[in-house]
């Protein structure tokens, strides 16, 4: 890096800036939109000069959407709460089920083991809409339609395979001798799993958890079909902004900003574990 010439460094900086602008501009534009009224957003030509307003955020947080056709009640904050609840519970459940399963697939050879692992992965192949029709019929019979339990269960289709396959790879990378050494030292199988395997696969578990959280958070169709208004997450709740008097772009933008924030914060917070300390250094290289 030190030997890079001035021009090279300049070019590098320029390219990186261009890439960052390309990817972040939509988010930046949405952030600007969230402080504008519908009239300001829709004017032609668009302009960066405007008087910022907090009306969009006020409307979302208070739950009263004032349009030219009258006042509408929207449940955005409730949607946001649903998203947090559904995604968090779904990922936690997937971790509780998926991490031990991933360990079993990584460490033990058993009959049909590979087939079961592949079947679980194949849940990700099927288009969700294909699964949804039969699923909604079953859920109606079981009384799971429009329940948190039912939704969290369906979210396992998203989170469980992801966690299983990512974490399995991390477990396979741990030298079995490290675990053997702990057992020979007199510790039980279960203790070895919690004290050695899980901490060493920690970065992988964090990455898989974060990734599946984002996938759950962004899911749309499952909740659209299986949940009614008071159980819907933000992705579905955003439909409420398409009103009789037009699309409320300002509120849509504010809603996006609010719904992106939790995942963004989580990603920033978890980032150091995703990158840090994957090299083990205890086994000779």
């Amino acid at each position: 890096m030190d030997r890079m010439s001035f021009i090279e460094r300049g070019l590098r900086g320029l390219l990186l800036t261009l890439i960052v602008i390309f990817f972040l501009f939509p988010i930046f534009w949405i952030l600007l939109m969230s402080f504008q009224t519908n009239e300001q957003i829709l004017r032609i030509p668009p302009s960066l000069r405007f008087v910022p307003t907090l009306d969009n955020y006020k409307a979302l947080i208070s739950g009263h959407l004032i349009t030219s056709a009258g006042t509408l009640d929207i449940a955005f904050m409730r949607n946001l709460g649903n998203s947090v609840l559904l995604s968090t519970c779904a990922v936690l459940l997937s971790l509780i089920l998926g991490v031990p399963a991933a360990y079993a697939f990584a460490r033990f050879k058993f009959r049909l083991g590979e087939d079961i692992a592949f079947t679980l992965l194949s849940f990700r192949f099927a288009p969700p809409l294909l699964v949804l029709l039969p699923l909604s019929l079953y859920f109606q019979d079981l009384g799971l339609v429009d329940t948190y339990v039912g939704l969290i269960w369906v979210y396992q289709l998203i989170a469980l395979p992801l966690i299983l396959w990512i974490v399995r790879g991390y477990f396979e990378d741990i030298s079995p001798d490290i675990e053997n050494a702990y057992r020979i030292a007199g510790h039980s199988w279960a203790r070895t799993f919690f004290k050695i395997a899980v901490p060493l696969a920690g970065p992988g578990i964090a990455a898989a958890g974060l990734l599946s959280f984002i996938f759950c958070w962004n899911n749309f169709v499952f909740a659209l079909i299986l949940a009614s208004a008071d159980k819907q997450p933000v992705t579905v709740g955003a439909l409420a902004f398409v009103t009789a008097s037009g699309i409320q772009y300002g509120q849509v933008a504010a809603a996006i900003v609010l719904s992106v924030t939790p995942t963004l914060l989580l990603a920033l917070y978890a980032q150091r574990w995703l990158v840090a300390g994957l090299s083990l250094g205890a086994v000779k290289g």
Binding site: Y182, R183, A185, G186, H187, S279, A282, V283, K284
Partner: protein, 369 residues
Amino acid sequence: MAQIEIRNLRKSFKQDAVLKDLSLNVEKGEIVALFGPSGTGKTVLLRLLAGIYPPDAGTIGLRGRDASGSPPEQRGIGMAFQNFALFPHMTARDNIASALTARKADTAEIARKVDAVARLLKIGHVLNHSPRELSNGQKQRTALARALVADPDILLLDDPLRNVDAKLRYEMRLELPALLKRAGSTVLYVTQDFKEAMALGDRIAVLLDGEIAQCDTPERIYAAPVSIGVARLFGDPTLNLVEVQPKLIDGAPEIVVGGAAIRLPESYAATCGGHYMLGLRPESLYLVDQEAPGTIAADLVAVTPLNEKSVLLFMIEGGSELLASEAGDRDEPRRTGPARLAVDLDAVLLFERGSGRRFVPADNFGARP
């Protein structure tokens, strides 16, 4: 009852039979060096003993009780792995202490024992480092400390000096016997280095082709190997092998090596008429000044000085090569050219050409004890 008693142990991986019908007894307090070329299943045997792999057949007795089915944590064994297998997320102290925490010892007791073993192995100053921050030698000592700290009565060491540099290996080879004797444990020590095996083992168990080919004291293994295979593994340079056909001449067995007739002791009479390989250790060949009966005419081709000794390469009649070694403290180096070689008849080894088994003369085991 032996401390470790292995009976008819078999282990295969897929189609590959690694251990075939292996039996071995190790007495209490004994250090047995498990020696053999790489890929003969030494590590597999240790893992079977530790309970990491289940055996396909056979039994493993520990302290007089059958332990074949019990899990690793119930075998009460200390083990040091070849690749160290330290816990990367724990400090050296916690690594070593892991063998004690399972036994529900109190904190002060654990700290005292860890400090004691760390002092013994000279790693006291790095106890708070993580394995990543340790040098290879320190890692190796930490792994050894972890195996030793709980004073296990059975200790399995899997080539612990393999991955450390030459200087440390030499130091540890000197320190280890005292350390192991002091612990009083029964030790099975895996190594690929015959010098290490001879330096450390009360007995050496030679593992060849999935079986214990020979288990005996280092002296006897060297002087009276059961087969060519075992004889070849010991000695640097390795022993010379010459095809011979002993014949009875004037009532005494005689062989011809490089055109010279060499008279063997009477006890070799039974070999006459058979096809044999003559095994000559390099140090049992020596140079003589004058031609005499039983000395071999040879041509000294090359001299390789190796500090404490020199290795001499000879060509003999028929184009065979012979290696001899002698003390390296000569004032002037040997000149290449014609020379005469004599054979130390007490150190002669004869192997059957087909089976490779050593012919054991009737009166003794055929070589110096």
